[in-house]
Symmetry: D3
């Protein structure tokens, strides 16, 4: 039967799906099925926190539907890890954020690392995530000042800038690895590395791949009866408190794909 | 003219407005007008993060409208500080979260403090806020395990439990002050203290009052041309990047009070 | 009646009073009276810790006298926050240090900030204060290597150097705001900004203004019966333990303005 | 072909192999082969750091041999993660320590957790590992004061004490999950849970299982050409500097299983 | 010739000199001469920060005189380490604070430790010192609620309470050693241990002794030309900037023993 | 009789003994006898962690023999502090690591410091030690990229590079002192400073000398009955648990100098 994982591109458009699918497929383990989807009826980028917030509402609904549809795990495809913690409150399948997964895998790749993300607005936000996630190995957060809507038109330019920034920041900070902390930067760079056949000299962590590996592991644990996420506090489910209220809230206020357009 | 401050009860009902207004009014400085409002067309509590997320969408819209309506500052009335950071991205008037404001004022009241909040689910969330806000003086986060919907029916019971927990936790942790880190707990306790005329022996910080004082100060600074919040990164505004896109996103996806019900 | 605030220039001379008064007066709220005073019969600068220590003795006496004279709050006008914590042990009116007040207000202005202070000797001292105050948003402490006695003779030069350092350090550290962590640097820069009418592009926090706003808020709280600073530990008052001993100690060893000169 | 993983029981005896094999086998993913081995010709426990140091020499040799024998990944089966970081210097296959792997997976199971380990001597050592690994979610390190040699004779007693300690410490610390930070405690508890069919109410993380999942993931990444651990610093290999010297050192001083006994 | 060390009891009375001398003398190394002195013409305790501040002025003068008198090192005998950092600005001989010295030596005695100090007011102050000194090994700060003036009348009672608190707090916090963080508590306990001949089962660190050992070491380094404390920043000397001003300030405002009484 | 200290060069050769002896001897206090020895029958450098691990086994044996031979303290002469913590488990005499000792003494020399070590591989390792030791004063870890085997052939080149790096890094980081965090770098620099008679302008801390001073102090404390290192946890001795087992383990597996060669 295999493991079914849904990767939700939160950007409100299917523009990025092919790039993600193309660069992740080579790394599926046998038996894993990866469906790359995207949010709909929401802003088409999440660069600003307002957009991010609106998009997250759709992400939450989509994660709940993924569980209902029998997916074994979900990846929310953006290094803001948008909606990930809230989504864990709602479903019993694992919900994986690319940044968190990559920071967790990073110790296997080197003593410390830097983050290179997209634009300057993301830098302080990622610094906060690093603080919350406990990234003792993180030595710096930097950016290349691209917006995602531009990246998809010039993935090679993105790769070139990302690699240049990586070399410079690793040198300046004496770091051993880099996390390309934007799913589109990392996909663009992965694509260029594969297409060009360039040697992978630097230790570059691709959050999409790391999220995939983490999702596969957690899906295994779930199937084996071992993904009993604690419901004692942070991840207590609304149903535990009042299932009817939760159902009513979701029915009335949950942003359903396609529904708003119909209204 | 005076300073106009809007206190938004985010709980999706007007049940709490009178309690808040009653317990804050005595502490307005001359010339301050406080309007206590509430979110509408959204869940009626924010105990769970899903509800919180949905409510925040309404908070964001309401903060933008408050600015348009000429308010000088806004307080989002819950110690999750819901939507506060996102709202700062959107408006040029100060947006105050009660927990943050109180943690910032706390050093004037003692060397360190404990937090006492409502229910066990809030405890880890507040621990994360403490980490992000940099609360070196915070020695513990505790709760009294009440839900807001129950509190409003028995404010005296809330006050009694809050004071008992405060005494116990301050003793155990050797702390000098307490932050009653729930706007309804603190309002209930304030009400009881005023009604009973009990001596204020313990150093109890009421986030509603602290948020009010902070809002008054920031409103002054704004009026004096000194509230030039940095728009270089974290709080860069969507309009700076693409004003038309922002307007379209807001028009299409912003949750407007009353609008959803009409759809 | 209004709020009476005393701003004590601790530098042992009245040379700085006019500059401070001139640059703070525009930011008084209606009803606030600000008296700018200075320490006397003590060293004329506090650049070195020895001088600072001697000056603080006078500050402590002056704060106690301010309370006796009916002031509602006191600001000790130097970013070393000299004597501030000790003074809180002694009086029941709020005692505000400019650095602490500004660090507490900084989150409303940006995600993080740098400090730019006067000379290299102050840098490690401010780093320690940042650690004690819990400045998670502080990304760097830098200086312009001026001494206060020189500043007063060339406030424009100070402003020029402060602005240049601000631009450079904010860029290097990717910070969103700056705290000009010296009351005379910030007054000089404020004066230049006002006199020149230059646009306030950068988010520059002036500790004098922030201390003023904090003092006004705390004075309100005091007047409203809400400034019950904890006397359980750090700020326990000597009178609580032995009022007669305290009176005797103060009478015999407190440095009184003018008294030593008479001896 | 599948993934071949070697789990090295470092305790210098095969006494624990059956327990480990029995409790891990149910969690292998299809295609994974797990070989449970043990160190030989070394002390029969690693309770004291001297023993641990001697055992680690054998672990290092055994990890190198595992790579030569074609294993895809190695787990060093003790929550001291003995020799793990040094071993990564020596081989290109992933080397997994159970404690680190579990701390990295823990955020998927709850907001925070406590550690419960074997005896009091291990507690400060684990506190140091927590500091190095960056465990912001770790709220406490506790122990049940058993030694491994006693555990194997009474695995049920171990399980009972571990579960009791877990309940008590989670309650006291308000934690959401527990890591049973000793491979034999966790195996004993797992055995008891399976044998008794008791419900898994508490969120108990078993380091053996987590190490297995991490090893499977990293073995995948290795097979896919993506396990390019950084050799720029911490994990630079001796061969990079002087391959002949390394070979000579290993031949002369590496502790080989069986060899010393022969001398 | 030997090493001449002055131990300054800062308490403004000679009441404590005999106890200190009696309990330190057994630990002098051959050739060390220890002179136990006290501050004069200042408050007779430093329990409150006001008193502490006034006393420190005398300490500073006394340290300068000790250097002039040819002492090789000075210990300021109180665990507030009163005036120590300021004094280092003024003299080229080592100035040792008992708490700092003991925290620095503590790693040789155990993995971690607790502090037990005199009264509740000292607890938050010591927490701040721990933060500034970087005490990663410090697990708790506790007190026995005695004042020094009472201690000298009942040193045995102090010892009894200190040992009881030590046992309790070490147990509760799982700590391996204790620092009796008050020079009079530690002297009282040392006296009782010697007089009673009780076994020294617990690892109790006596700040007086640790300060002595540190002073001896630093005096050696000084004599060997190796105590070149950095004068680049924090410890830059006033004379470096303006020697005449410093001399004038000291002459006019330095509190000289006996001089004030004469005025 | 005096104090007998053994300084163990762990590098597996006597090549470095003369340099160490020559540069430490001037700083012995009267009565101290320093024996500089080296490990034997082990790798001749500890640049890589594998070598370091093998060498440490010999260090442990040699420390136990030093205690048996009546030494009063031991210094393990490398800034990795190799085997130091394990050795403390085994003997009752003080075991001093040069890096730890120097970090502990550093506060007497300046507010903060940088580390300059040998090669890039050591940098992340020292960062970890700084984290474990609690180095709040450490502002940076840097290196000069020399290997010890090259240093001994050109000690003047080492000194030149170390001093250049020191000047550069202190300037860049605004630090007040430097720890030359490699025993051979610091010995080479000390030799050059002595031979050239150059002024010691910079505050350079030599770990060999600091370790010597710490060893002398701890040896005094030991002789005075005050070195009762806690045996409650981290440093509990194997003999406490099972003396016969420990003796058997040591006899069978402890690497003895010369013994392996004989095998």
């Amino acid at each position: 039967m295999g493991t079914r994982i849904q990767f939700i591109n939160p950007f409100g458009t299917d523009d990025y799906n092919a790039l993600i699918a193309e660069t992740m497929t080579p790394y599926l383990r046998p038996g894993t099925v990866l469906d790359v989807t995207n949010t709909t009826d929401c802003p088409v980028n999440i660069d600003y926190y307002y957009n991010k917030h609106l998009v997250e509402t759709v992400v939450l609904e989509q994660v709940m539907r993924a569980e209902a549809d029998g997916y074994d795990a979900v990846i929310v495809g953006c290094c803001y890890d948008p909606g990930v913690r809230v989504a864990r409150e709602l479903v019993d399948i694992p919900v994986v954020g690319p940044l968190e997964a990559t920071m967790l895998m990073a110790p296997y790749y080197g003593h410390d690392y830097v983050l290179v993300t997209d634009h300057h607005k993301a830098v302080p936000y990622l610094r906060d995530l690093v603080r919350l996630y406990g990234g003792t190995g993180c030595r710096h957060v930097s950016c290349i000042d691209w917006w995602v809507v531009d990246m998809i038109r010039d993935t090679e330019g993105v790769a070139r800038d990302a690699l240049a920034a990586t070399r410079r920041v690793m040198e300046e900070k004496g770091a051993e690895a880099v996390i390309l902390a934007c799913t589109i930067i990392s996909a663009s760079t992965e694509k260029w590395l594969r297409d060009s056949g360039a040697a992978r000299e630097l230790t570059i962590l691709n959050p999409n791949t790391m999220a995939l590996k983490m999702a596969e592991s957690l899906a295994d644990l779930k199937a084996q009866g071992l993904y009993n996420i604690s419901r004692r506090g942070f991840y207590a489910k609304p149903e535990q408190h009042d299932a009817a209220e939760f159902a009513a809230v979701r029915a009335r206020y949950g942003r359903l794909p396609g529904r708003r357009g119909a209204a």
